[in-house]
Amino acid sequence: MSPVHKLEIVVDKVHLREVTRLLDDAGVSGWTMIPDVPGKGGRGERTGDELTGVMSNCYVFSACEPEKTEGLIEPLRALLRRSGGICLVTECKSVIH
């Protein structure tokens, strides 16, 4: 098992592509996404299942090498400042196969 950082991001669906592009550009080995997650934050409650689809969050996580986290934090922070949402970083271990 090797130590990795798990980045978890909740962001407006409309900005999803920007998040995954940041991850791809940083060269992470992959990411997983969960679409349409309702939630509540600074900008109020978001039900996520409206017909309009406008109030929808999505959740993305990526297990990335610890040395890559550094370079990802700043652009993610800039994006979240613009769009709202959150980003968590957790230390964990990855089972290598």
């Binding site: 017909l51 309009t52 406008v54």
Partner: protein, 324 residues
């Protein structure tokens, strides 16, 4: 005369299902239409209205009159957001003003579809090209609204300009609703009276029933937005009612001038008087992330949409019957 039309409309099945949906949310019922069913019904309605319009266009052929009405439609989708923007700027910042202007310059397909059903119930004829008018009016105001907001606010938002506009045009003009509407219209036009009878049992006959179920869902959603209206303030609430009346009336007058038929005039009024709550919000969230969705969404979905479905449509039609 007008009042009886409004009362009659309030007792039509689709409108009653809309009111049922609103009531269910207000009473705290857990009644709920799954999101994918709602999106499926909405797809069906666009498909149905598109292919039916195309078929009717194939029947009637192209005329000069229809070109002038399409021209007026596109023009209004450019002028409405401009003048709305300047009024809204008296009370709001550039981002919110631009977002709401874009919303009201564009159209609500469900309102259009409800108006089509209203006209069919009253046996008023209208042209299949009105579907094209709707599709053409969906997108321009997005570009206009975003442009106005950008011009009058100095901030960048860190995103490269080129990329922003590329994606904005894509969201505006290649929006799913526009594609399915224009595509179905074209297919209806091409397959014409050979194609229509074979799809009619699916695309035609169940139309009104599907509309009922869909308006039930719209009622559930609209009532949820009404709860968020408190933040909008009296000016915006007034705007949400006055704007459709002004835009609808203006459209009726212009339609009279260019010699449109009664049915076409009513639909043009509905298009000008209605506000978007799908295409525009999606594009605006991306292009104007600082505009508050808590303003433009409740206003369009919680005020203008219920107004048009219950009162606006028969009102515009009453005006038309007065003038024609």
């Amino acid at each position: 005369m007008e009042l009886s039309l409004i009362a009659e409309n309030l007792l039509a099945a689709p409108v009653l299902f809309f009111l049922l949906g609103m009531a269910a949310t207000w009473l705290g019922s857990d009644l709920d239409v799954p999101q994918s069913i709602a999106r499926g019904l909405s797809l069906y309605l666009l498909f149905s209205i598109g292919i039916h319009g195309g078929y009717e266009l194939a029947e009637s052929g192209w005329t000069a009159g229809m070109l002038s009405i399409l021209g007026v439609a596109v023009l209004s989708a450019i002028i409405v957001p401009i003048w709305s923007f300047y009024i809204l700027r008296q009370f709001l910042g550039p981002n919110d003003a631009g977002a709401i202007a874009a919303t009201y310059g564009s159209i609500s397909a469900v309102t259009f579809v409800t108006a089509v059903d209203f006209l069919r119930s009253n046996e008023v004829e209208f042209g299949g090209y009105m579907v094209a008018a709707m599709a053409l009016m969906e997108s321009p105001s997005i570009v206009v609204g975003v442009l106005l907001a950008r011009l009058s606010s100095e901030d960048g938002n860190g995103r490269p300009k080129g990329e922003l506009w590329r994606r904005l045009f894509q969201e505006a003009f290649l929006n799913g609703a526009v594609v399915i509407l224009l595509g179905s219209l074209l297919i209806g036009l091409v397959t014409g009276d050979k194609g229509w009878p074979s799809v009619e049992p699916f695309a035609g006959a169940p139309f009104k029933g599907v509309l009922c179920l869909f308006l039930l869902e719209m009622g559930l959603g609209a009532a949820r937005q009404v709860k968020a209206l408190a933040k909008c303030g009296p000016f915006l609430l007034t705007f949400g009612i006055v704007a459709p009346i002004v835009h609808g009336t203006g459209a009726v007058l212009i339609a009279r001038l260019i010699g449109a038929s009664a049915g076409d005039a009513t639909l043009l009024a509905v298009l000008c008087g209605s506000a978007s709550y799908i295409a525009v919000p999606a594009a605006v969230r991306f292009a104007l992330p600082k505009a508050k969705p808590g303003l433009y969404l409740p206003l369009s979905l919680g005020v203008t949409f219920p107004f048009n479905v219950s009162i606006g449509i028969p009102l515009y039609y009453a005006l038309v019957t007065l003038l024609w």
